[in-house]
Amino acid sequence: MPITRENIKTSPKYRQISHLLRRAGFGATPGEMDRYMGMDYSEVVDELLNVSGTSTMPDDVIFRMFPEYHASLGVDACANWAYRMVSTDSPLEEKIALFWHGIFATGNDKLNNPLVLLNQIDTFRRNGMGKFDDILLDLSRDPAMLIWLDNQTNHKDSINENYGREILELFSMGVGNYTEEDIKECARAFTGWSVKNAEYMALMGQKDSIWPYSRISWHYEYRQDDHDYSEKTFLGETGKFDGADIIEIICRQESTARFISRHLYNFFVEDEVQVPSWQEVPPKNPEAISTLMDAYFEHGHDLNKVLKVLFESDFFKESEYKKVKGPAEMVINVLRLSGGFEEPSLSMIQAVDEAGFMGQLLFYPPSVEGWHTGQEWITSGSVLDRVNFSSARLTDLSSPGIRDIVNRVRDRCGTDTRPDYVIQVFLELLGIIEVSDMTSDLLLEVCGGENSVIDTTIGSFDVMASNLLRVIGSSKEFHLV
């Protein structure tokens, strides 16, 4: 019997919650699913959205082993964040930080100061599911962003439009919804929004200077005497606006609601065309975007409420496997499944490097536009890296998470040793992967064919499990979410 989505004997509730945790997190381990299955779907949504008392691998334990993780190179900072993503019990908190990192893409290749990027990620954790006005305000005072877009050189008598342009084009409204004059007025409103010792800090960043005593972290400084207090006209409104006023006006715009809704849809629901095409290409699901926009205005721009609407919508629940896993998402998913990160490990650096080889080295976006997503994650080179990484990790039966999965499958099979059933249980525990006929044929072949009997003695079962997991990790379906 071919293995199809229809004959995987999994309850609708299990499927929905598993889907939710793949999208709002990095996939659930079997142990986590045991806990979540004791809750209603909406209770799981609420728990994900209402973060409190997050438990992760403690920073002190990480820093004792790897002091370089907070003060050294960008890849060390990646590993620092990766530990949070792998070990957190509030996965949406990290997923939303990843979401904003893709949109408010800030790169260490210019800043050369990983600590300020980690602080920026922490800001996304803190406010990433809050009111969009607050998110933009914090972003506009974020020292990493200010130096990234040169706002320290945006002076009242000589404006630098860089931040003024990007906050409109890439962070809130999107191209086509404002004029060049609006950009200039916006930039004037953000004059004086700078960083303490900005000139020295920018120079150190530019020269990648670690001397004399390592990098110094940055904090926001408002330079009153460098702010343009005069009247400005922005999006048809006139006043002595400063940056906060500008943000308040931006967040009232319908174009902002649409822009954010499309981003949320693209990240959490279904792969869309890339942002530069949004002006010409309408959303795949205009009704869904309309629903999210309504929620944005109805709830006072509160993204927590918008996300609740999204996760409880039919369009979300019906969107299984409509997205390609991003590299970071894929790597973290595999690491969470494989477990073994109770203590810091030398292997985390290798894992974040792997995400880089697959096209997404965190803190190193290709441009201010962030990463292109969806099918653009897949190239001939990245496929090899993905397959090698996932297969190697999933077939390591010594890792506690994989060991647990294999043991669970063996226990659940009991006397039902038909290959199709064994395969179904494996797929379910790895996240109910929907597989094609071709993949199912391959999996059956690994098990000795449709009519064979699985040998459940431990040694033989482990060999079969390892081969099966290798094929699953190599399958197209494993790389969808």
């Binding site: 002091p67 001397w211 005593y213 972290s217």
Partner: protein
């Protein structure tokens, strides 16, 4: 009681050879007062790990060792250093489970713990190390949460402790020191306290508890004891050093007051653009937003304050050396009577 700041030693480097530090973790002194610094490097990449040799005046003498690998000069996760009375340098390594022993010139001599060790002693994450007057070696074992006393031949005299928070239990212990009476002080890292034991491993007293108040600790990583029995604790998580009297009463907090070292002055002199930008900056005065008020953030945002104070050591001239892994330098304080 007041200590007196003397000077700062060091400068950051990202080079695998030459003077300068990359995550220094500890210093120790041979009988002539020469300083040996454990430069931990980026162990995740095995880069920059080595022992560096120099003196109080920052005269550079050389270096040895490297990261990764299993050779006699390789380190995986080195943590601490100590000299015995024969001027043999001991270097603990949590990663390999060994304590490697070198001559002053960096020639490998033998090792304690590990497969080819002298004596019979298995170590589980050897971390802090210190000698008593008879050259017995005390080792904290991070992974086993215990203290082990080892004789000169590498054999275990006793082990004490297991994971927990009761007296004589430890939670990932780190630094260790002895006093003139032979008593032992353990930085009981994740229990946020110092435990004092007698030479036979019997419990004497606990100093401190979790917190940020005077006399409280947040992950103390190291303790040094002067000739009067005063304790100098690197209160690592609070980014400060606390001085306690022999009874554990609070005496003083050191926050750090680094100045430019000789090496730093030399570097800035040949990089005038940075020296100029630096001179027109204010690296001391802070106006941090609420979310950046933690000791960690304050340390990261300032330059003269401690950031990552990991080790406290005292030399024969009653000078206290505080090694900061995140600032790649050593701040030195006078703790002699003149300095009080």
């Amino acid at each position: 009681m007041k200590t007196k700041y003397l000077k700062t030693i060091g400068i950051k480097t990202n080079q695998p050879v030459g003077r300068g530090f990359l995550f220094p973790y500890d210093v120790t002194f041979d009988s002539s007062g020469v300083i040996y610094a454990l430069n931990r490097g980026r162990i995740s990449q095995g880069l920059g790990t080595r022992i560096q040799i120099f003196d109080y005046d920052e005269e550079w003498y050389g270096e040895f060792g490297e990261g990764s690998g299993t050779g006699p000069l390789n380190f995986l996760i080195p943590v601490a250093t100590a000299f015995n009375s024969k001027d043999e340098l001991f270097v603990s390594d949590e990663g390999s489970g060994e304590i490697k022993v070198f001559s002053q010139k960096g020639i490998p001599l033998y090792q304690v713990g590990g497969e080819s060790a002298r004596g019979s002693c298995e170590l589980m994450g050897p971390s802090g190390i210190a000698f008593d007057a008879d050259d017995n070696l005390y080792v904290t074992e991070r992974s086993a949460s215990r203290l082990t006393k080892i004789d000169r031949d590498g054999n275990v005299i006793y082990r004490v402790g297991d994971p927990g928070s009761l007296p004589l239990q430890f939670n990932m212990p780190w630094g260790v020191a002895t006093d003139v009476a032979g008593c032992v002080y353990v930085a009981d890292w994740r229990n946020d306290r110092i435990q004092k034991l007698d030479p036979d491993g019997n419990f004497i007293k606990i100093f401190g508890k979790s917190g940020t108040e005077q006399g409280h600790f947040n992950r103390p990583s190291s303790v040094a004891v002067d000739g009067r029995g005063n304790m100098y604790v690197t209160d690592w998580g609070n980014e400060r050093v606390q001085v306690l009297d022999p009874e554990g009463n609070f005496l003083q907090i050191l926050e750090g007051q680094a100045t430019l070292s000789k090496w730093a002055e030399q570097w800035l002199t040949v990089n005038p653009d940075e020296y100029s930008a630096r001179r027109s900056s204010n690296l001391s005065v802070l106006d941090l937003p609420d979310h950046l008020q933690s000791p960690y953030q304050v340390g990261s945002q300032t330059e003269h304050l401690f950031w990552g104070p990991v080790s406290a050591k005292i030399d024969d001239h009653e000078r206290l050396y505080i090694t900061e892994h995140s600032r790649a330098r050593i701040q030195v304080f006078d703790i002699s009577d003149n300095g009080l």
